[in-house]
Structures are given as structure tokens and as C-alpha cells.
Amino acid sequence: MTASPLLCSAVVRSLHQTGDNIWSLILHAPLIAAHARPGQFVNVRVADSLVPLLRRPFSISRINGVELAILFNIVGPGTRLLTDKRPGDVVDLLGPLGKPFDIDEVFDTALIVAGGLGVAPFPFLEQELHRLNKPIVSFVGARTASGLSVEGLENVREATDDGTAGRKGTVVELVAEYLDAEKPKRPKLFACGPTPMLKALREFAVNRRLLCELSLEGAMACGIGICQGCPVQRTGEGKKYALVCTDGPTFRAEEIVLS
């Protein structure tokens, strides 16, 4: 059972750029920080105005006591406004939201698979996995070296599309090579990234019958299951769609269809 979402006024502690268009915003939000679990997100009101109107969802990237961090790229007006934040500014947060990663089921080695900004939820997840003494290997991919963000990750293996850092190729190829070479006992994959990457990894994991959880993103208005704006197609009988915000953002690879 996860905590009920809270509306909080969080105070900006710091904003720093950690890569080429990768930003980290650290917020003082003690109640959300206390209740958050890895894989959950916050829905952020980027400005106290009606334009832009809707909140923006961001993974909780890291927890440090009473503070939490979110990681983002500037991709539109909402994220651009976030880069105007200065220490002491107040940001309205709704959270913690969504279903966390399942770290209680039986597995031995955690394989973290991140593409681009999909790295966002993993420093927090690795904090918790570390506490459980789970061995961790982090596979991080990006288009090019400056898009890699590995802060807070351990045992990192990199891949870039252009070969400017790590293996030239995809992060899925990197994972496949590792599994074939190391043959870890009872691995579990935790993945987040662009849809084409998640599609490829999903197929790989389902074919090899590997435990695999995918963290998805979706355009959403409310973040709490009301607006029904963020459907993802389910496999199997029953309801055709699940909602990214409340049924996810973490899903078992075999329970959803990515298009």
C-alpha cells in the first residue's frame, strides 16, 4: 500500500545542469520525501499561472533526507520555466504518485537499464537496492556521450548510438551481451527510457522469460487516475487499457503492449 498523495509547497534548494541539457532540481519536501518509494513520481506545477496550465510529471530521482531531486531535459515551455527556479522559490508538488518498482519479489541481481533521461528514477532505486544488499549492474545508453547521466548509479556500463562513449550500439545489446557472458543467477531488469528502447527490451525480456519491470511516461493532466488521459494497452482479458499514473508508471513487461 502506498501513501495517499499530498499537495505540498516545496522550497527549491538548488538547480544545476549535470550534462548537455540535463538538469537536476533539488526540492525541500519532507512529507513527500518521507513517503516516496522508488519508481514513484511527483506532478509539478511549474508556474503559478494558467499558462502553462497543467502539472508536469517527473520521476523522483533521488531522496536525501527531507529533500528530493527531479531530473529533466528542456523539451518545452514547462521544463524551460523550471530552469528559472532559484533557491528559495516555492514549487507546488503533488505526490508521491504511482506504483513503485517491486523490489520485494525474489531476485538476486538487479539490472538497471536506462535510455537517455530514462535514468531519472534509478539513483533512488539503487539507494533502496543497496539497502537490501542486492548486487546492481547499471546499463546506461544515450544518443551521444553528453546525453549520458550516471550520477548516483553504480557498476555502470555505457552505450551510445554514435560510439562517443562506451559500446557503440543500443543499451539492449549491452544487456544481452552481459547476460550471455556473466550468466547471473535470477536477474531482474528495471528499465526506463524512450519507447523504441522499451519495446526492444520488452520483447527481449519476454522471449527470455526474464523478470522485467518497465517505467513508462505518458501525457497526463491529474496524475491520480481521474482524467483518464494516460492509457497504455494491456495484454490479456478484461480492461483494454491501464493508466500510466495509477496502474503504473511501473509495469511488468508481459502485462502491457507498447505501440
Binding site: L50, L53, L54, C222, I226, C227, Q228, G229, P231, V232
Partner: protein, 314 residues
């Protein structure tokens, strides 16, 4: 103390602020965020006879000061609503208005009849105005004879208040309001969303999977006010004003043009506690203005003495 309550067909609502259908779920998702005792009532998510999956992904897009949606009436169906949601809703300290959306007159009648036996539902809002489904919705809502026929069919089935939710996507919405008033509707609510569209110029594709959808949010408030004004001039039954309300002042504007009550929609997504704040703000406005009863503001627009230049414009 300002009087904020009003009565509709014998049902007393504590104040004039409601949450609009589809923007508050079934009422149980937000119990940690909104004190339900601060609002007049909850319009439930639209209920149909069977569950509906809704439309494919690509359901919402933000636009300037608003949003487009194409949810497609995704809902759990009236049976699951009665079994799972209503027992929780009954415990909330506010009134529950069941919103019904169906694809035939018979289905509307069946859903309403099933809810008739249920304690805790105090009124019905009939959605004939969803722009995002092929059958039902706008099929009814843009045909005045069909809207009237539906009202005629439903009226004898219930003694509870019957509110017809109208679409603005017609030439003269007041004709529809007049038609349902003549058939015995107790109130109308408007506006449902305006048909709108957005395009991704990079891919040259529509941003919604259904190409067009419904526009809501602060961007539509001026249109909504004009439609509510038009309808309030045309009918004697109460009007629930809906469309882009974000503040207590916005809500007061709707009262002044003739709305008896208002519904808060899209802004619930931004701040789930906003309807309570708006209700408090309306009472505070009345207090400041020495108005002992919010009801005396309904239709109190001073339309005969030119216009007023808003200082706040600067």
C-alpha cells in the same frame, strides 16, 4: 453569515459549487486532497450500462490556457459503480449527482432506472454532449428533437432532479435549453467542451488519436459565459454554469450572467482542492459586497449601463 445554499426540486445543496463530471473521478480518489464538505456536490464520471474502454492513447494535449481531451467516456459501468464506488461515496459529506452517458434512449433509461433504487444519488445529470464518441453523446446533443425526446422519456422515470448537460457545438444552445425545459427538465448545465484540434508540425499528425477532441480550461471561459447568458435569458429553470472557472471571481461572473450554480472542471486536475477554495471565495465576495444571499447575484448583471473597464487589466 452569507447564505450560500439553494434548492433544486426539493434537494438542498449547501452551496453553489460542484465538481464537473469526468474531472473528479468517482469522488474517492481525492479524499486526501479535498474536504468534500466544502462543496455543493460531485457530478460523477459519466456512467454507461456496460464498462467502456475509452479511446486509444493520445487522449490529452495541453493548449494555450486549456486542454484538449478525447477520453471517449472510459468508465467502469453503472453496475461496478453501484457495487464499488457508491458505498464509499455515500460517506462523503456532500451530494452525489450521477452523470449518465449512453448510446441509446433505452440505455439512458436503463442506467437511470437502476440508479433509482440506490440511496446516496440525489440527482441525475444527463450527458448528451460528449464530442468524443461515435454513438450517443453529440448524436443526441446536436439534435434538438432527440434531446427533447430523451428528456421526455426520462422525466417520468424519476422524481429526483434531472439536469441536462448541453453542448456548445450547436448554433443556438438556448433552443435546446428551451426544448428540455418544456419536457420537464429541472435544470440545464453548460457548456460541455468545445470541439478543437491540435497538430504536431514535426510529424504532421494530429495530437489526439481521434483527430479532434474537446477543449476545456480557462481558455474557454468567455465562450462559456456567453452561452450561459444566452440560455439564462431563454429559460426559467436553473442553469449550472461550466467552462474554465479557475477563481471565485470567475464563478461570480457566471452567477451574474444567470447561473444558479457552477461546476469546476479542468482546474481540478491542476489543484484538486480548488473547488473548496472557490466556494469559500464566493462567500467572501458576498460578505465584502454586503450580499446576504448568493442567490441574489444570480442574473444580477447590470447590462444597461455600458461597460466596465477592469482595473485589473493593467
Amino acid at each position: 453569515m452569507v447564505k450560500t445554499s439553494f434548492i433544486l426540486r426539493g434537494v438542498e445543496f449547501r452551496n453553489r459549487v460542484f465538481v464537473a463530471s469526468g474531472t473528479f473521478g468517482y469522488g474517492n480518489e481525492t479524499t486526501s486532497l479535498l474536504d468534500a464538505s466544502k462543496i455543493g456536490g460531485i457530478m460523477t464520471k459519466s456512467l454507461s450500462w456496460k464498462p467502456r474502454d475509452g479511446n486509444p492513447p493520445g487522449r490529452i494535449v495541453e493548449t494555450t490556457g486549456g486542454m484538449l481531451n478525447s477520453i471517449g467516456l472510459a468508465n467502469i459501468g453503472v453496475h461496478q459503480f453501484i457495487g464499488e464506488k457508491l458505498p464509499q461515496l455515500r460517506h462523503l459529506d456532500t451530494k452525489i449527482v450521477a452523470n449518465i452517458a449512453a448510446s441509446s434512449v433505452d440505455e439512458y433509461a436503463d442506467v437511470l432506472t437502476l440508479l433509482e433504487d440506490q440511496e446516496g444519488v440525489v440527482a441525475y445529470e444527463i450527458n448528451v454532449s460528449c464530442p468524443n464518441v461515435k454513438e450517443g453523446g453529440l448524436n443526441f446533443g446536436t439534435s434538438c428533437p432527440k434531446t427533447a425526446e430523451l428528456t421526455r422519456r426520462l422525466r417520468p422515470l424519476t422524481n429526483r432532479p434531472l439536469i441536462i448537460k448541453l453542448t456548445p457545438n450547436v448554433t443556438h444552445v438556448s433552443e435546446f435549453a428551451r426544448a428540455v425545459a418544456d419536457e420537464g427538465a429541472d435544470a440545464v448545465s453548460l457548456i460541455n467542451t468545445l470541439i478543437g484540434m491540435a497538430v504536431d508540425v514535426r510529424t504532421r499528425k494530429p495530437r489526439l488519436s481521434t483527430v479532434t477532441g474537446g477543449l476545456s480550461g480557462p481558455a474557454i471561459k468567455p465562450v462559456a459565459l456567453a452561452k450561459v447568458y444566452e440560455v439564462a435569458q431563454a429559460v426559467k429553470i436553473p442553469v449550472f454554469g461550466i467552462g474554465g472557472i479557475a477563481t471565485a471571481e470567475d464563478a461570480i461572473e457566471f452567477l451574474l450572467v444567470g447561473a444558479t450554480a457552477v461546476q469546476i472542471g479542468t482546474m481540478n486536475f491542476v489543484d484538486a482542492s480548488i473547488s473548496g477554495k472557490i466556494a469559500e471565495g464566493m462567500a467572501a465576495y458576498a460578505e465584502r459586497s454586503n450580499v446576504p444571499d448568493l442567490g441574489s447575484l444570480v442574473g444580477a448583471l447590470d447590462a444597461n449601463v455600458g461597460f466596465s473597464v477592469l482595473q485589473s487589466w493593467l
